[in-house]
C-alpha cells in the first residue's frame, strides 16, 4: 500500500532530481559538446582542472561565500528580532504579517529590477532620501562601484528574506509551551535568561530549518545578480551560478559548466551536512 502511494513520488524524484545530478557529473567528466549530439569521450578531471585554475571561477566562489555567509547570519538575527516582536496577539496582526511577508513573496528577479530602479545612480529614490537626511551630499552610483555593488546586493537580499526567516522562527516560538516560561519566571529567571535558556535551545530545530532554507538559495543566487547588476561592475557581483550559467549558455563550455555545477552541488551538500551535524537533535519521545 505504501509502495503504491510512494511509487509516483519516488519515480519522479529519481527522474527529475537524482538522474539529472548524475548526468551532470557524467557530463563534467566527458569532452565534446553535449548538445545536440553527445560525443562520449572520457576526459577525467580535465574540466575540473580548468575550472579550478580559472581566476574568474574563484572570484565568483568568494563572491558567493561572502554573499551567503554575510546575508544568512544577518537575516537570522533580524528575523529572530522580528519574530520576537510580533509573537503576540495584537490588533491588526494578520495585516502586519502580510505586509512583512510581502518581500518574501516578491519574485527575486522582479525584486532585483525594482531595487535597480531604487538604487539608480541619477534618479534613484534611495539617493534622494539619503541626500535629504544629510547622509549623502550628492547622488551616488551604488551599483557601479565594485565594493558598494556587492553591499547593495546584500542589502536587497536581506530586505527580501528576513521576513521569511521571521515567519519560520515565529512558528518555532509559537510551539514553545507557555508553562516553560512560567516555570522559568518562578525560578527567578530574567527575560534575558529566559531567552538564552528556554527560547534559544527550543528554537534549535527551527533555526536549523531556516538556516538550510536560506543558505541553499543564497548559495545558488542567480536572479538577484542577473537582474540587479548583471554580475558587474567587472565581476564584483558574479555569483557561482551566474558564472556557471554564462559558462554554459553563453560560452557553451558545457563540460566546465557541468563541473562547476557539480562543485556547487558538493559544496552545498557539505554546508548542509555541517549544519545538520551541529544542530540536529533526534526527536525525543
Amino acid at each position: 500500500m505504501a509502495a503504491l502511494l510512494l511509487a509516483p513520488v519516488l519515480t519522479y524524484l529519481f527522474v527529475i532530481s537524482y538522474y539529472p545530478i548524475a548526468d551532470t557529473v557524467w557530463t563534467s567528466l566527458h569532452s565534446g559538446s553535449v548538445m545536440p549530439t553527445r560525443e562520449q569521450q572520457f576526459v577525467g578531471l580535465e574540466h575540473y582542472r580548468s575550472v579550478l585554475s580559472s581566476p574568474s571561477f574563484w572570484n565568483s566562489f568568494w563572491v558567493t561565500l561572502i554573499y551567503t555567509f554575510v546575508s544568512v547570519p544577518i537575516e537570522m538575527v533580524l528575523g529572530l528580532g522580528v519574530a520576537l516582536l510580533i509573537n503576540r496577539d495584537f490588533w491588526g496582526r494578520y495585516v502586519a504579517l502580510v505586509a512583512i511577508l510581502f518581500p518574501w513573496a516578491l519574485p527575486t528577479i522582479i525584486n532585483a529590477q525594482i531595487w535597480s530602479w531604487l538604487f539608480h545612480g541619477e534618479y534613484g529614490v534611495i539617493n534622494d532620501l539619503l541626500i535629504r537626511v544629510g547622509i549623502l551630499e550628492s547622488a551616488y552610483p551604488f551599483l557601479s562601484d565594485p565594493d558598494i555593488a556587492l553591499a547593495s546586493m546584500l542589502f536587497v537580499t536581506i530586505w527580501k528574506t528576513t521576513s521569511f526567516v521571521a515567519l519560520i522562527l515565529l512558528a518555532g516560538l509559537a510551539s514553545i509551551p507557555d508553562n516553560l516560561y512560567e516555570a522559568a519566571r518562578i525560578d527567578g529567571a530574567s527575560k534575558v535568561k529566559q531567552f538564552w535558556y528556554v527560547t534559544l535551545p527550543l528554537l534549535k530545530p527551527v533555526i536549523l530549518v531556516a538556516l538550510i532554507f536560506r543558505t541553499l538559495p543564497a548559495f545558488q543566487a542567480f536572479g538577484l545578480p542577473y537582474g540587479l547588476t548583471g554580475g558587474g561592475p567587472g565581476e564584483s557581483t558574479t555569483t557561482l551560478v551566474l558564472w556557471a550559467h554564462s559558462q554554459t549558455f553563453t560560452r557553451f563550455e558545457f563540460g566546465e559548466g557541468a563541473a562547476a555545477a557539480t562543485i556547487i552541488t558538493l559544496v552545498a551538500m557539505v554546508i548542509c551536512l555541517i549544519y545538520v551535524m551541529t544542530l540536529y537533535e533526534p526527536e525525543v519521545r
Binding site: I16, P20, V95, V98, I109, Q113, W115, R132, S190
Partner: protein, 298 residues
Amino acid sequence: MSSKTHDPTSSVADDQSVFDRFDPHRVGEQLGFYGSVVLLCLVSFFPIIWIFLTSIKPSTEIIQFPVQYLPSEVTLDNYVMALQQAPFLRYLINSFIVASGTAILCVVLGSMAGYALSRLDFRFKLHVLMIVLVSAMLPFFGRLIPLFDLARSTGFLNSYLGLIIPYSAFQLPFAIWIFQAYFKELPDSLEEAGLIDGLSHIGVLFRIILPVSAPAMATTAIIVFIYAWNEFLFALTFMTEDSMRTITVGIALYQGEYTYPWATISAAVFMSIVPLLLLMLFFQRKIVEGLTAGVGKA
C-alpha cells in the same frame, strides 16, 4: 509599575490589571511596539509603493532629481504602453497556468506520500525519508542542463508541462513535509472508522483524510504557487518562445529589448504583483498557520 519590574512572580494576569489602570510605562511600551510594527510594514512595502507611484506618473516626472514624490497628475499611459509593447497579459496567463498546474500536482503527489510517511508502517521508511530530504538539498543549477536536454528531446521545451514537471519535483519535498506534519496530528480513530467500514488505505486517504485536510492543502498550494510564479532560472531557459514566457522572464527580458523604460517596467511589475498581493491577503491565515503547523514539529 515599579513593583511589577521587581517582582519575578508577576504573571500575565497582573500585567493585565496594571494595563487596566492608566500606566504611562505600559502606554509607552504599546506605542513603541506599534511604532516598530508600522515601521516594519513601511520598510517592507516601500519599494512597491514606489513602483506604484512611478507607474502612474507622467514620464517626464520619473527622471527628475531631486525626486518628485507624488505625481502632479495621475496617468494610466504607462499601463497602456506596457500592454501594447509586450504581451504582458499573455505572460500573466502563462504564469498562472504553470503555477496552478504545479500547485495541483504537488498537492496530489505530496498528500499521497505524506500519508504513507505519517500514517503507515513499512520497511525502508527511513530510506524513503532520506531520499526525499536529500533531493530537497540538491542545487537547482546542477539539474538545469540535463533537464533542459530531457525537455528538448521529449518535446517539452516551450510547453507548460516543461516547467510544471521540474517545479513540482523541486517543491515535492516541501509538500510532503507539510502533509506529513499535518496528518501526524489527525486522530487515529478517523482512519480506523474508515478501515472498519471496509475502505482501503487509499480510500481512507481520499474519502476521509483529504476532506479534513483543507488547511494543509491550501498552505501547500499557495506556497508552491508563489514559488512557481516567481521562478526565473528554469523559466528563462525552458521557455525560448516569446509567447510562452512567464511574467518574471517577460519583465526581465523587456528591459533588454527596449532602453530601460522605467515607467513601463513599473507598470508591468505592478501588474505582476497584484495577483500575489491578492493571494496573500485572501490566504494570509493559511500561509502563516500552515507553516506554523509544519515547522513547529520539524
